[in-house]
Structures are given as C-alpha cells and as structure tokens.
Symmetry: C4
Subunit: 220 residues, 4 copies
C-alpha cells in the first residue's frame, strides 16, 4: 500500500512509461490505480503533454468518476476507468492506449490469435475483441467488463479503438499493455510471412498455469 504522495509519483511515472514504451502518441493514453481504501482511484489529467506531466497533477476520483482532488480536468477516459473499478472488485490498475499494432487488429475486428508461448504465458490464449462503443457514457466500460470478466486475458482490444488492460495494480496493467503490443506486433509480422501456426489448447493451458504460478520472484 502506498501513501497518497507515493502513489502520485507511481501513477505519474507509469503514465510517462506509456510514452517511453512507444505505446502512445502526443497526449493519448492513460494509467490509473485504485487507492488503498478501494473506493477511489488516481488518474492523469486530460491532454497534458507527457513532457510536462507532474505527480502533483494526478487526479483523485471516486468510483463514479467524480473528481475529489485535483485542479485539472481528468482523463477523458475517466468514466471508463471508474466503471471498471466499480464492476471488477479485484482490479487495482487500469491502462488505456491506442498502441499501433494492437489497435490495427481492432480495426479489422479480429481478436489476436495465440501463436506465441509468451502470449500463452501472459494472456492464457488469444487477446479478445470487445464491442464498438462510443465515449461519453458507460458503453466502453461495459464492453471492457463484459469481455474480460471470466476471461484469462488481462487485455481487450476494443473495435476500431485500442487496448484496455487491467491488473492487480497499475504496474501489472502497464505490463499487460506492453506485452499486448509486443505480441500484437509479432503476430502481425508472422501473419504477413505465412500461415500462423496456433499453439494447441493443452499447451496453452500448461504455459498459462506455469507462468502465473512460477515466473518472477516469489511474493512479488
């Protein structure tokens, strides 16, 4: 659990990381994290240059997306983040990007098929395609929640739009967004080389189970 001040630094850095990882253009994209009381989350302001983004500008909202603290307008995707936190109790972090390769799959209305062990590890199979939805009400949030609830994947590509990813905290959701773009790219290259050779379901299951339980440092 981070103090509010530490969380400002963390959420600001992870937003800037979206640019560092090449997932966003100009001011697009946003990262949020649920606060320790479970009832609020912190998100970046709307339309501020990543060069100028500062921890003090991070905005605290309730789970209806109302601003509780912050001088600037919150990300235009704030209501979608709020909807996700409201309906998925275990989600502690949410990320949204228009990263090029993942968004491209969404623009042809195709889920990303699983032909890579790294994808089986991280997403447990394909990355699903969510519905087309306009910004401005609960439609995008609803589409994300309906697609990801009960699904192994921590990322969804929304039709003609881009990626929403979730995780136990903001770092995990950023990891999901980074890995989603990475496998979206490799799978696209592969598809242009020939026929994708999908991994059989039994192997996918084994890989996912192992990675979720063994990879990395214990207790982290």
């Amino acid at each position: 659990m981070s103090s509010k001040k530490e969380l400002r630094v963390k959420v600001c850095k992870l937003n800037i990381d979206l640019q560092r990882y090449g997932l966003v253009a100009w001011t697009a994209g946003n990262v949020s994290e649920r606060m320790s009381d479970g009832k609020r989350f912190m998100i970046k302001p709307s339309g501020v240059s990543y060069e100028d983004l500062k921890p003090s500008q991070m905005i605290i909202c309730d789970l209806d997306g109302n601003v509780l603290e912050g001088e600037l307008s919150p990300s235009s995707d704030t209501h979608t983040h709020a909807y996700i936190y409201r309906h998925m109790k275990d989600v502690g972090g949410v990320v949204h990007t228009h990263s090029n390769y993942a968004a491209a799959w969404s623009a042809v209305h195709s889920a990303i098929p699983c032909a890579l062990t790294a994808m089986a590890d991280e997403f447990g199979g394909e990355i699903p395609l969510g519905p087309f939805a306009l910004i401005g009400n609960d439609a995008i949030g609803k589409g994300v929640v309906e697609t990801l609830t009960g699904h192994r994947s921590s990322a969804v590509i929304m039709k003609n739009h881009g990626v929403f990813s979730i995780g136990k905290d903001a770092t995990a959701a950023v990891k999901s967004a980074v890995m989603c773009e990475d496998v979206a790219k490799t799978t696209w290259i592969a598809k242009s080389l020939g026929t994708l050779q999908l991994i059989d379901q039994e192997s996918v299951d084994k890989l996912f189970d192992r990675y979720q339980n063994i990879y990395g440092q214990r207790g982290k």
Copy 2:
C-alpha cells in the same frame, strides 16, 4: 501572444520536435507560426541540421514569402507556407513532413480511410489526398488550401510527396502531423491484416464533435 524572442524558441523547438517524433529524415520537414500581427510568419532555415538548429536562426517572412529578418535562406517550402497563411485567415501554424507512413499512402494516391476512433476524434473522418504539384510556384499551396478549405481534417497528404498540416498555432499543427503519422501507421498495419472495418458516419460525427469540444483542459 508570444514575444518575438519567445516565438523563436517555440518555433525552433517545434522544428526539432519533428525529428524527436520520428517524422523527418536528415534536414527535411519544417514548422512555421504566424506572428501576432497576422502579417508575418516565422520559419526555419533551409538545410540546417536539426542538431545545429538555434532560435536565432529562425527567419521572419511576410505573407508573400519574402524574408524580413534572418541571415540564412528560409525553408524551401516557405512559399507554400506563405500561400496557406495568405488564403486561410484562421491558420496560425503550418507543418510539412515526409513522414514515412503518411507519405506511403500518398504514393499510392489514396486518402487515409477512417477506421480508428482516434482518427475520427482528431480529423473528423478520412485524411484527404491532395493533388500532385511541383515545388517552385503556388501549385503546392493551392493544392493544400483547396483540399483543406471547408474540410474537417487539419492534415492533407499530397500525392507522391507527404503531409501538410495546419492549426491555430504551430503546436496544434505539429500535433496534427504527429497524429496523422500515427493513424497512417496503424491503418497500414490493419490493411495488411485484413479488411479495414470503417467507422459509420454517424459515429464519426459524434466522436469529432465531442473531441473538439470536450477533450483536454478548458481554455487551452
């Protein structure tokens, strides 16, 4: 309104940003901004390395493209910038690049179709294709102005050439150039994955209207 000195810093930095954003090779590309009297604009010199570009080298021209202040020769596209400022009173900034993905669409004589919500937001639909025109007289400027006048898009791809983008100031025009390349890339990736699923016109209209009026910080 910036002082002349501040404007030199701004225009120089935005030109260098073209390289930072990966939109230009070698010394190609240029950014200008209309000065506060409306009758002059500031542009970068021709053929100077981005590493060596300094605010003091920025050149001030009248709206016929004549140099008023500056020791170096102005950008070879100066007359096109001048033509645009002369014929589009609301334009305060102009950018020109040969950015790879946008230029590629222009080399097959195709507008960039709208299959991404980010593109509907920013450009209000497709990015139009302008005519083939040679440098050296008003032909390019005329092609840009005729294509963009009355069009929602702030960017045009000129046949076999590259991008011209406009905005209320140079920053807005650079944003347009960055977003144009970003959607040109994603749409290209998508096209090589399968059949592009275009966004219906009603949704495009709603997205454009909302983004132009709501996104970002009020008063900016």
Copy 3:
C-alpha cells in the same frame, strides 16, 4: 578470463543491452556466461525490471541449474541454459529472446532463408527452426542442442517461441541474437516486396569461411 566481480558487471550489462537493442519487452530475455572453471554459469534473476538490474543480483548456477550463489530466483530459462552448457562443451555464452521479427518466423514454422550476405557471413546459411517444446523440463534445451549441434548457425528459432543463440562467450551470443533479429527483419521486409532471391550455396560457403577467419581485429 574475468574475475567473478568483473563477470557480474559484464553479464548484467549484456542483459541490459538486450533491451537497448530492442530485443526484449518488459522483463523477457536472458543472457548467461559460463564461468572460467567450466562448471558453473552466471545468469540474471527472473522477472526483475531492466531499469533495476544490478551486477550484485546476478546468480551463479551449476550445470544442473542449481543455484550456488544469489538471493533471487534465477531466470525461468535457467534449466535450458544449463542443458546447453552441459551438452555443448565449446559454448561459453547463451542468450534467449522473443525478439519480434525472429519470433514471427518461428510462429509460421519457417527457418529464415539466406538471401543476405550478412547472414551468410554470420550464420553460414539459413537460421534453422527448432521443435515446439514446453518450458519446465529438458525439452527446450534438448531442442536447441539437437538443432545447433553440427550446424553452422549460432542461433535457432524455436517454434512459436523465440531465439536461442550461443557463442564462445556471452558477448558473442548477444551478437548472434542481434544479427539474427536484424536479418529476420530484412528478410521479412524483402519477402513482402517480392520473391526472395536466395544466395547460391557456393557463395554462402565462401562468405562464411572468409568472415569467420578474417573479419575484425586479429586475436579477438
């Protein structure tokens, strides 16, 4: 021969280089080097951010993959590295990545054909395709060793997975991983432009022979 302290610095730097060369996403990828007694090797820990990776965190294992020194869990690919060192006496360095272009060839179950002199120089012909194998036992190591034993190539792409490369030390194995991705990219671009024109075997043989014996500084 490096001291243990120098080797920690070297192995840590080469792991970070994987990120610098664009071969890995997030914490994926790993580099190891056999120690001077021939009976141990040094590898990075599992799941640690490249930003945070330090020489002191490098882990020393025996050739069965048991940890001899180190506080963190070793790379999840440690047993594959151990298998390779155990079965290929001349190998002094091992690298594993999921680099995008090479992994893409593996996802369509195709070796990378040799249409570039740089590839003939470095790999002596095509980069071979290894079997599909799950992590968790000796299957991957066995697939790597069986594919590379007696083969000119220092890199193998494992089906639906990514690259394993070997060398006389870790630097040579990193070079192989870098060159593998570079030729995988160029060959992919070429394939999408038209029919790959392969280099005839006699020329491939001459190029490989010359490069292995003449290129670079003598005695290095």
Copy 4:
C-alpha cells in the same frame, strides 16, 4: 579542407552517426573520407563496437587500400572504398551499410522505383540495383563504380547485400545513405498498400534539377 586531427573527429562521428540513424547493427557499416591530397582516405577499423570507437582509431590508407597509419585492421570493406576513390575522381566520401529497408529491396533484386518527390530531389529517379559480388577482391568496387558512373543516383543497392553511397565528402555520402533508407522504407510501405504511382520523368527531371541547385544554404 580539414586537418588530419579534425578529419579523425569527423570520420569517427559520422561512423557513429550510422548507428544513431538506425542504419547498422552491431559493428556493421563504415564511412570513409578522401584526404585533402586526394591520394589517401580515412576509414574506421574492422569490428570495433560503436560505443568504443575513438577518433584516434581511424585508419589512413592509400588508394590501393594499403594501411599507411593506424594500429588496428581497417574495415573489411576498405578495398571497395579504395576502388571507388581510385576510379571516381570526384568522390570525396563513401558509405556502406546493410540498412534494413534498402537491403530488403536488394534481396528481391529490384531497384527502388521513384514514387516520392523526396527521392526525385535527392537521387534524380530510381535507386539502381548493382550486381551480386563477393567480398575479397575488386568485384564489389567494380559493381559500384559501373552502376553509379554516369548515373544521377548517389546510392546503389548491391544484390543480396546492402547500400554503397558516395558524395563530395563523407557527410554528403552519409546523407545519401540516410535518405536511401528513408525512401526505401516509405516505398516498401506504399507497395504493400497498393499499386505504386510512379512520378513521370519530366517531373522527376524538374525536381532533381531544382533540388541540386537551390536547396539549402548557398555556398554550402
């Protein structure tokens, strides 16, 4: 005319620039410049990491490729550079790369067609395809010289190999290599989008003539 010391700094920096511009992997690629007496040239050593390259390591050769000054072995392409300087009196700089997009065109044995005004400006039309030739004697140099003599283009792509570019000095040859890769990339993207729309010869001629005589700062 640069002093020998200044030339060491210039040639070293331009070699490192190849990496900065993304034209080379590992230690591949090389830049040389003819010295002011016309009878010698300076080139980088073979197989030294770009991170470690220093002005003092630059090597001076006569026009037969014999080393006159320098402790290290010269670039393995030294004899090709020498051949070019010997046979093309106006050439003051030579660059060689395996840059990905240009090399890909060479791997399908295709010249790069001219569908971009920037390409007409810089190369006066298509970038020609040179013969397949093995390293180790005069074959590559002969292929470069025969292809570029009397040709407008300052760059040639050699079959299954990569780019050689020439210029009045090393900076001009590096510019040619950078622009060659840039147009090779854009033209590849375009080709995968649809049918390339070539620029008519009369327009190509006008663009080339104008750019060679007007662009940039006079006297530079």
